[in-house]
Symmetry: none
Subunit: 410 residues, 2 copies
Amino acid sequence: MKSEVITVGSEIMSGHTLDTNFRFIARKLSSIGAEVVWHTSVGDDHETVADVLRVALRRAEIVVMTGGLGPTPDDVTRKVVSTVLGRNLLLNDSVLEAIRERYRMRGTQMPGINERQALFPKGAEVIENKVGAAPGFLIKEGEKLLFALPGVPLEAEVMLEQHVLPRLTQSGTPRGREQVVLRTVGLPESIMAERIASMREQLEGVSISYLPHDYGVDLCLTFKKGEPTQLALNERVARQRLLPILGKHFYGEGDKTLEEVVGELLVSKRRKLAVAESVTGGMVSQLITSVPGASRYFMLGVTAYSDETKCKVLGVSDELIREKGAVSEQVAIEMARGVRKKGAADIGVSSTGIAGPGGGRAEKPVGLVYIAVATQRKASAEELRLVGNRALITRRASAAALEMVRRSLL
Amino acid sequence: MKSEVITVGSEIMSGHTLDTNFRFIARKLSSIGAEVVWHTSVGDDHETVADVLRVALRRAEIVVMTGGLGPTPDDVTRKVVSTVLGRNLLLNDSVLEAIRERYRMRGTQMPGINERQALFPKGAEVIENKVGAAPGFLIKEGEKLLFALPGVPLEAEVMLEQHVLPRLTQSGTPRGREQVVLRTVGLPESIMAERIASMREQLEGVSISYLPHDYGVDLCLTFKKGEPTQLALNERVARQRLLPILGKHFYGEGDKTLEEVVGELLVSKRRKLAVAESVTGGMVSQLITSVPGASRYFMLGVTAYSDETKCKVLGVSDELIREKGAVSEQVAIEMARGVRKKGAADIGVSSTGIAGPGGGRAEKPVGLVYIAVATQRKASAEELRLVGNRALITRRASAAALEMVRRSLL
């Protein structure tokens, strides 16, 4: 069933508020097999909302609106739906009484403007809001379903899960397709795509899309509708064919992050980690500790920007820095060794490089980064030449550091 | 000028990826006075993208597309624009050579499929991508402007700032309204709103909105259109009235970040900073070093998760930890003193606390955080009780640490 999501709110259109409702709704609708084809956002303007709602009702079978259900005059959703569908707004007495009761419980009287929230287009089913003031509603217009939910994310989420999804599955929305996401790091999108293209005919019933992000590429497999057994077979075949192509670059599925994978490996192998950062400025430590329970394996992080600190805190020899420069393979290795020792860890990982925008020279340009990993037995470094601005270089270098730790644990 | 933003990507429609491009683009377009009226997202499907592009070109004067410019077959933007506008795709030799050169620099050969990225609809101006592979383009279709940018957020951001905005301001986009954003930290939205409401009649010709974010509230002043002199007067009066209300909580205007303000203060006061982190896990160091030139004032960051590291690396006494617990005012102060000394800095700042989800107890619940600042002469700590999940608590504690450094420098 083709679906459209319309988020209404001037705060979204000005860029002040990041719209997180859509992502949540899209995930949930996809999970029950509804195909989300369009997402439209507009401000709190009657005419504009009315126009996009008309378009949505023409092309989609399910329309989910969020926002515009509050008590103030700039909340236009009720009025727009009434206009577009030609259904008068009627006062729902029991909803009005429930809103009054909410205020009574807090020891105050309901302000007059809240009465508006008990108005619904004729024929609408009220969707109760257990966590906030604004109820939503559902209208069946022929074969089409229109849901209106509040814009407050938590309220919209609860109402979607408790009312919208059960309603859609009960009305027999077919499970359309299954998706699997394979996450990779270190393999350029185009090389991956060429390898996969060369064996395309061996992959039946699956469409593949490439989702590059800041530091890696996710491979999204969408399996076409069919018998569950056929679907399971197609998925098994696709994995068997694709995983060898991805090789060591494959690190996890779905939403799993590189730092979570590294954390799981450290726990299962009973290893402890210490991090020495120059170019990544604390980001590697921050990613590692963003995973709950990181205290089980994270011993120490040192951000050593200056040469002096690299020597004093991490024990890098100042002679080495004079000879090779702070941005060098050898200094990276000494940093990894130093922090491993200092943190009494099994593995030390380090970064040194030039994040820019300043500080680059011809022989050591912006984007030159060395990552090193040291264990008790050995140490090695990798040279990277990263592109991007300061934020991107930092992010990519941090991912490379995590990835080097991951490989050392395989 | 009415604008529409179209974000293309199946990863957005499935809910796999949160669309952050729109927010950034909307902010930037609004900042130069372009009105963002519609935002549409669709997957990588030729027909669907073509349909929404046709609609956009009918109703908007400026259309900004992101996504669909990669080298793989599911990147449809070039093809769609070519179809919708009836402009053939032509190979741009110098772009092709630049892409080849990128690969040569990395020591590999360009895969054949990347040639696609040098194709542009006839009459398109190429928009250079300095931080990634996919160039964008601009097409003038009558009075309308169509920009196509890549979907990778940082690439889209850089290209928007360096090419799209200058192009729009030079083409004489009218500045519609004036906005000023005053950024604050540490003052609850409701208290700020009450104080401002009490003097509302002294603020003429300005509407005020409150934009709470992860760790503070931005106050957005929108001045009604009018004579430049009247506008300037209104703005001056609004500042005179509002800044005393905001007091020390006001830290900057527009997009200025707390870490930039702290950096500027450290430079102007010639002070150097060292950071000891437990609950913030490296985020304070990472924020400080995200500002170009941070090496002038950032000496050392230590992330010490374990009690052992707090003692060994930062010189906190293990007796103190046994007596007061690692999450305590006294340990925070010792960490700040220790890292200040170790880093040979003027100011040491520290964090200790419980980010959750586990580890909370009745007397020390999740969200309890201590931040301390130490200088040569004195040291002090603040207790915070933060709400939110692990990521939010970490973010808020990091902002509180930066804020405490800022105040110590005033």
